[in-house]
């Protein structure tokens, strides 16, 4: 109280009041400015500054999902993914040293220094708000293996800037150090790897890169381009994950500020019905036959008639999906589903089975084959050899065109058309591969008068090899047409089955009795003096049919160029395998019996051995020592 009194007793001088007022004003102004700045930063321009701050530190990293594997029925890997790197650079950080970096990295990355220099050159881009920002991200090379990236890091560490760095200040040295350490970096990427190289390449297909825009930015994805990689793309491709986090000045993630971390969901593994070992057997035998007969193409298909499962599917010429740039587009075509041609004499088996089914003909019914020359609808028809009277079985065995034509006439146009369509000709089989064609079967009203004599011998219709094989498999399967089956199941990362596929019978085409009769005839075509004798197997009875179709060149049937095929199955009365061999224009050997049938035999022997199919015929030596015991 005494002090207060003291102050009031001595009033301040006027100058002191002025000084105090001035100071108060300054403090108020200062605080006012601070309040304004605070308002400006936190309220008025809050969005702008918070975005700028976020852009400086916050980063969203896409987490690529692993693409699912493709495996054969026994779990052997046919296609898998490999982790690689995308080498990127920070042109802003590298600055004017970009050509030095380009010359240093060019030999390591296998690129020209000029190309690299162009990518590393500092440049500015305009963002969506019209602001110019310096580019800090440039992709130098994609799909770089880890070893190559280690070489890049070593090259960057040894980068010489052409200055004596010992004479530089610590700050200047730090700049060069940062360029060496952080100028070039990587982002994770993956490539597809096919361990068996060209094995089943036409079935598996290949992948390519595709850019997709997502709400979180653009993503470069691996997408299927052909084969199962394409048709099963949605199954094989997983779901992207992401990580929303912050980085420090050296691009290192500050884990403490990791806000969102969503793990990617890998794609499912696709397990096929293919058997890699049978595929290998088929491909080696096809390659040998291709070298021997020099055709334009050779193809082979192995099917289980009872289920429609495809065990092997091979085409030559083929390609290595690991080295796509080395192959040509023609070699990538799966001719078994994408090419159509007249099926030739193999077609007789389907037509005559239809006649058996209707009771129009029987195995021993005789047909006069006009001694090799027959005229119908104003056009001549001939056989390779002049035959007199042949039974229906004989027509199959000798592959008589005239005999087949006469059976066709007896069936009638409408019924013939129905049988052909029921066997699946003119419709896609539904195999899960891209590019399948449905073939050509003209409706009856478009037929010419001689068509009924031409169609039973496999002319005036066009089919894919797969359609013909499935039709023959239907005969082997007691008359039931099966849908070709290529996918066995989908399996997740933990090995759990997600989806299981079952054989699909399409329809009953002919009765079991009719199928049995046709099998008897087809057995004779291989076992006796038929066209397919070179397809015989030591331990099994084979039923099969050759096909030698003349190719149409300049709208005329060529006498030099043929499309040959042999389709057979064994053991004939309880078929386990249906094997088909196709050759387009073999240069050495004109007939299917000389070219395709021996390939069938070789594949059949090896495949039966591998699958341990119980022998049907008794070998010459009935007792053979096995593990010290006799097998009687």
């Amino acid at each position: 109280m005494a002090r207060v009194k003291k102050i009031t007793e001595k009033p301040l001088a006027a100058s002191q009041y002025r000084w105090l007022a001035c100071m108060t004003f300054c403090v108020i102004c200062g605080f006012g400015y601070l309040v304004y700045t605070l308002l400006n930063l936190q309220v008025l321009r809050h969005k702008e500054f918070s975005e700028a701050a976020r852009n400086n530190t916050e980063r969203t990293f896409f987490r690529q999902p692993g693409r699912g594997d493709i495996r054969d029925r026994n779990g052997h890997l046919l296609a898998t993914s490999k982790q690689v790197e995308t080498v990127c650079a920070d042109p802003k950080l590298i600055g004017t040293n970009y050509m030095r970096v380009a010359y240093q990295l060019a030999p390591v990355l296998g690129m020209s220094a000029a190309e690299l220099g162009e990518k590393l050159r500092p440049r500015w881009i305009e963002d969506k708000d019209g602001n110019w920002i310096e580019v800090q991200y440039a992709v130098l090379k994609r799909k770089v293996e880890s070893e190559e990236w280690e070489n890049v890091k070593a090259a960057m560490a040894a980068l010489d800037f052409g200055v004596d760095e010992t004479k530089l200040t610590q700050k200047q040295r730090a700049v060069y150090h940062r360029v060496r350490q952080k100028g070039v970096f990587t982002t994770p990427d993956q490539i597809r790897f096919y361990p068996n190289e060209s094995l089943a390449a036409h079935v598996i297909g290949f992948v390519g890169m595709q850019e997709r825009t997502t709400p979180r930015g653009k993503v470069l994805e691996t997408r299927g381009q052909d084969g199962l990689e394409l048709t099963m793309d949605s199954v094989l491709t997983g779901v992207h994950g992401w990580r929303l986090t912050e980085t420090d000045g050296l691009r290192r993630e500050v884990v403490a500020f990791r806000e969102q971390d969503v793990a990617p969901r890998p794609g499912l593994n696709v397990v096929l019905t293919l058997d890699a070992s049978i595929q290998h057997i088929v491909e080696t035998e096809v390659a040998a036959a291709h070298a021997k007969h020099s055709p334009i193409s050779t193809a082979c298909l192995v099917v289980r008639p009872k289920t429609g499962e495809i065990l092997a599917m091979a085409n030559l010429p083929n390609f290595n999906p690991n080295l796509l740039e080395e192959g040509n587009a023609d070699a990538r075509r799966n001719r078994l589903i994408a090419d159509i041609s007249e099926p030739g004499s193999t077609f007789k088996a389907m037509v005559i089975s239809g006649a058996f089914n209707d009771g129009t003909v029987n195995l021993n019914d005789p047909f006069f084959c006009e001694n090799g020359r027959f005229r119908y609808g104003g056009l001549p028809l001939s056989d390779h050899h002049p035959y007199g009277t042949l039974t229906v079985e004989g027509i199959i065995v000798k592959s008589s065109n005239i005999g087949a034509a006469k059976i066709g006439i007896k069936m009638g146009q409408e019924r013939l058309y129905e049988v052909i369509r029921d066997f699946g000709f003119g419709s896609k089989t539904g195999i899960p591969l891209p590019g399948e064609r449905s073939g050509i079967v003209w409706p009856v009203h478009k037929w010419r008068k001689p068509s009924i004599t031409r169609i039973p011998m496999g002319h005036e219709v066009a089919s894919t090899p797969l359609q013909t094989v499935m039709a023959m498999a239907a005969i082997a399967n007691g008359g039931t047409l099966m849908k070709p089956m290529l996918i066995d199941r989908f399996v997740d990362e933990a090995g759990q089955t997600v989806a299981d596929f079952h054989p699909t019978p399409v329809r009953r085409v002919i009765s079991e009795e009719a199928a049995r009769k046709m099998v008897t005839a087809l057995k004779s075509a291989v076992a006796t003096e038929g066209t397919g004798t070179k397809a015989r197997l030591t331990y099994y009875t084979v039923a099969g049919k050759t096909g030698t179709a003349q190719k149409i060149i300049n709208k005329q049937y060529s006498h030099e160029k043929h499309f040959v095929s042999f389709i057979g199955f064994f053991p004939a009365d309880n078929p386990e395998l249906c094997i088909a061999v196709f050759m387009d224009e073999p240069k050495r050997g004109m007939y299917a019996g000389e070219t395709a049938a021996p390939v069938f035999a070789k594949i059949g022997e090896r495949a039966a051995n591998y699958l341990a199919i119980a022998p049907e015929k008794k070998p010459e030596k009935t007792a053979l020592a096995v593990n010290g015991r006799t097998n009687n």
């Binding site: 079952h502 329809r507 053979l624 097998n631």
Partner: protein, 120 residues
Amino acid sequence: MKKKPGGRLKPKTVGWIMVTFAVLCLAGLGFLWEKRQIHVLGREIKKLETDLDKLRRENEARRRTYASMCSPGELDARARKMNLGLSVPQPEQIVRMTEPVHGPAVPKVFAAGSPNETNN
């Protein structure tokens, strides 16, 4: 001169002030320690993630190598090269045991009718 009763701080008050100050200091230190721990753990997590990724890649590489070595072509070539005299057994050399067949079951229902029926 009369002394004011509250003029001097009581030892109890001083004690409270010191305790409060100590608590604040400890809280501050605890905050710093926690921040440091978060940073250290973050770095450790990152390192472990990097190591895990590296191990995963090595595992993948081995799996691919194994797959390449198991490919039928590779095995065939190796068996020939090593000249082991291996050959495929003939059917009469195989002893068959009767086992239940585990093949896919074929449904009895047909997936499609005749295309001629649908056309008409």
